[in-house]
Symmetry: C2
Subunit: 573 residues, 2 copies
């Protein structure tokens, strides 16, 4: 601190001075020409002074480092180091990561890994501790995180919030385990991320009463206003799966903008590589009519305030020296990114390759009981089946009854046009639990696809029209320690290894994108309709909270009945 | 929490429902007709629902409870219970109190007393821990508060900040004891109140670098903008001694208003009784052109955010049910005040008399060594004196050299027209230290006035033209356990007992105001010019940080030289 004061006063030279910058002042809502001095990782002041290094911004705009207020990094399918390499060149210097997927597989090991990542990387990874692991009580996932498990993490300054409280029916029923987690966060004066799409009126009152402080699930004007007036901050979301900016940006006013920030929630590697990250969100917001300085404020100071990120979100003395130089406030084309005073990215690339901390217990997370030729056999004595109907572009399914053709009393997809066999295999504790069902609307033929990404428990989901191909695909996923595999005629036709918790890889994101492209093309060629996302749709087949009929490793689950139901429609439910 | 959820959802009736209110929504910047439900001391939701008690607001505006972001309650001269009785009817439900004066006398006992007061009273008293006790290293005050003394208090949820860091030269010099206190606050993630009038440029950069988060000492546009752009929040001040609203209100814009709040700093009982408190600040701000809802936001949510007051500052589910009903957004005439869901004041009065916690160690704080007839003797062998020149309406003085008439080698005020004798007597540890000097510009004759209010060490200051009267006045202050006394011809002519730390009383504020009026009138009659504040000016005569010449119990101090100097001008300095 002594040295910092000396640099600020001018008794000692500063480390870096950025001159000729148009500084975006998120406190005043103004832009002004100024020089910005940095040292010891923080901004020490404005104006010219003696410096060891001078950076000429050549008239570029200087913004505070961009902040994603809520993201699941797992959606990029790459590890934090690879993720950081993608987003730093786009100006992102901080993210609030909710590792809901990683912790469902690896529990607190995932939290330790991410805290180590945060310490090792120039991307500041703040954690929101997942509040709903497992997502439902009747699932087989890799870990259970109760309030007691989260408590030791709350002291870490990098742990900033309790992650999205998705179990809102549980909150409204005052579920003691959830109230314990909410109390833990309140005691630690940390925000609680909300997740309650469509909740309004008294139920929203009750949900927010418990101390939930923000939501990123807002998609309509009604929800926006209902949340704002109740003190719930809005994270305007631009995820790869949900584009809320066009609906929400017009609702942001000078009077309510202090309660808004931006987040990406889920963002695929392909989009991060091509379109960008928070720079793309800024471009979109400004194109939709938001005042550019306001947009920057949402993406910096407001996010920092909403998630309690100390010393982040502004260019001002004592704040962390995270900043971005951009060409202008419309394209937001990033020239250079600084993290804690060091230039870490320029002209689209990081300046040094980044390294993950040891992956340790996140590797070898796939632990399956041996499978047999008849593991996926599905006897249907009645010849009538309860079938999951999948719809394009939707995560909700319907329950349908079908008369099906069997061979030796067993369901045979090849004799039932339009139907595939679907299986979910427990893969965390090698219990051998395997649920088998029937899927309509997927269309896959002469192939099988298996994936270890299946929300939220991330068991292995496999779909196909031939037991041998299904077996081959699952065994390949097992052999890779997690990932995605497509098999046909007993051969592996395409694959992507995801050895980190079965969800991520340390390979280059470009490699991931190419592999995913190949798998998607292949699956569409093998019959998956072009308007169905072949992997995303399967990944949600095992999530028994979205209506109406889903499959878990314990069997077919009717979300409507909130209970398991037999596949054989001749058996009473 | 279970009951709270049940009330919010509507499974159980709420405790109180306020209907027909125009709710000021500080999140949206809007006003809307709504019903507001309360229970368990918090707001549980909006809209009609079953309630045990219904309050018809009859179209009144419902504001969040008003917050004073920075106040020294000592300036009212009454104890917290009496203070609360004054301000609750004016809509104030929370104050951030900086007990700089009380702690200079009673140290941590004062902090314990105020925390007990906060628990006992419906006024929420949050504490900013005084950072500069003593104010200077060469003073005799009642206590020393180092970082280690403050540490145990930082955990209390009612302790919200480190109090105003007045020793800004010390900060710029990186004084280790000050840096320790700043580090303590940073570790506890608590704001630090600033106090550095006129600081700009590099020095302001350095001061803010250390983690100082707000200032209430801003009086010009230049200071306002310099602080705002550096991330330092502005508390627009309307104190009895410094009226900054006319200069600052016009500078508040939609772009920077999120960084502003209001405070009173010092407010006398007379003003609190007649003009009001934060309601008066709102009236003034709106009269000066501020948007009324913005003004309310500054006085509620912004203050809560600036000082980290959890659950304060808004009418919203889960927030503390502190609110105020006012006639309109111009007069801000308060109809009723609610604190944690209970109606505590209406139509100008509190609904129950309030009680201070036991005063304990705050009583009997005056501990003086015995005085003698010649305690105030001032030998001036050279016949030339270094004199303090007092100016009307100013706290700064000048040093003047005077030829003075002596009797038996001792200075005699009655033979030196326009000069008074001034003495400061140490009164915390009965050390007997007594400084004697000469004051020009005070004009008092045939009387002496003594007071135990003397910033910041609160030793006893006495001024007069006759040693016997001075002795009588000081002895009366001692006998009262602190206070103010005027003596003439050996008799006590007027007095105000301030037995609580020598600064405050439990008597009714009206009594205090009457006594002060009587003392002021008497002193003006006895020669104090009408444009000199007779008590305020004396109270600052012993503060050796304001230029140029002051008197302490250790002798005459030249702030210009930053050293003690002799009164006899014939002695080399």
């Amino acid at each position: 601190m002594k040295h910092r004061i000396a640099m600020a006063v001018g008794r000692e030279p500063v480390e870096t001075l950025i001159i000729n910058a148009k500084v975006v002042d998120v406190f005043s809502g103004l832009v002004r020409h100024d020089a910005v001095a940095m040292g010891e990782g923080v901004f020490v002041g404005f104006g010219h002074r003696e410096a060891r290094e001078v950076v000429d911004a050549q008239g570029a705009y200087l913004l505070p480092g961009l902040i994603d207020a809520h993201i699941h990094m797992e959606s990029s399918m790459v590890t934090p180091a690879r993720f950081a390499e993608m987003v730093l060149p786009h100006g992102t210097t901080s993210v609030v990561a909710d590792p809901h997927e990683l912790t469902n597989v690896c529990g607190t090991d995932a939290l330790q890994f991410l805290l180590a990542s945060s310490r090792a990387l120039p991307l500041h990874i703040f954690l929101a501790l997942p509040s709903c692991v497992p997502a439902t009580p009747f699932e087989d996932n890799g870990a259970v995180l109760e309030a007691g498990d989260l408590t030791p993490f709350m002291d870490d300054p990098r742990v900033v919030a309790l992650g999205e409280m998705m179990n809102y029916p549980g909150v409204l029923q005052a579920d003691p385990a959830l109230l314990d987690k909410l109390a833990l966060s309140r005691r630690n004066r940390k925000p609680v991320d909300g997740h309650a799409p469509g909740l309004l009126g008294n139920n929203l009152d009750a949900y927010l009463c418990t101390g939930i402080t923000n939501t990123h699930e807002c998609s309509t004007a009604e929800e926006f206003h209902a949340n704002i007036m109740r003190g719930c901050r809005i994270f305007l979301r631009d995820s790869s799966a949900a584009r809320n900016l066009p609906d929400l940006v017009p609702l942001v006013t000078p009077g309510n903008c202090h309660r808004c920030a931006f987040c990406c929630d889920d963002r695929h590697a392909s989009e991060l590589l091509t379109a960008g990250h928070m720079d793309e969100v800024l471009r979109k917001a400004v194109a939709l009519g938001m005042d550019p300085v306001t947009a920057v404020r949402l993406c910096t100071l407001n996010a920092a305030e909403a998630e309690g990120l100390q010393g982040k979100g502004a260019v001002a003395p004592g704040f962390d020296a995270d900043c971005v130089l951009v060409d202008d406030l419309a394209s937001f084309n990033v020239r250079a990114t600084f993290s804690r005073g060091r230039r870490v990215a320029a002209e689209g690339s990081v300046l040094t390759q980044l390294t993950d901390p040891p992956l340790g217990p996140l590797l070898n997370s796939v632990r399956m009981a041996p499978l047999h030729e008849n593991s996926f056999a599905l006897p249907l004595p009645s010849g009538k089946a309860r079938v999951i109907r999948l719809y394009p572009g939707s995560l909700t399914t319907d329950e349908e009854l079908h008369d099906v053709a069997c061979v030796a009393g067993l369901f045979d997809p090849r004799r039932n046009k339009g139907l595939c066999k679907l299986a979910v295999i427990e893969r965390h504790r090698a219990t051998g639990k395997t649920g088998v069902g029937i899927l309509a609307g997927y269309g896959l033929h002469h192939a099988a696809v298996a994936t270890s990404i299946s929300h939220d428990s991330h068991n292995i989901v496999v779909c196909g029209d031939d037991d041998a191909d299904m077996l081959a695909a699952v065994r390949r996923v097992d052999a890779m320690g997690g990932g995605i595999a497509v098999a046909g005629d007993g051969e592996i036709l395409a694959e992507l290894a995801l050895p980190v918790a079965g969800l991520m890889t340390q390979d280059a994101p470009q490699t991931v994108v190419r592999a995913l492209d190949a798998i998607h093309s292949l699956l569409h060629r093998q019959g998956v309709p072009n308007d169905v996302a072949p992997l995303m749709s399967l990944s949600f087949m095992a999530l028994p909270v979205i209506p109406a009929l889903k499959l878990t490793a314990r069997g077919l689950f009717s979300v409507t009945d909130w209970n398991f139901v037999p596949v054989d429609a001749g058996t009473p439910r």
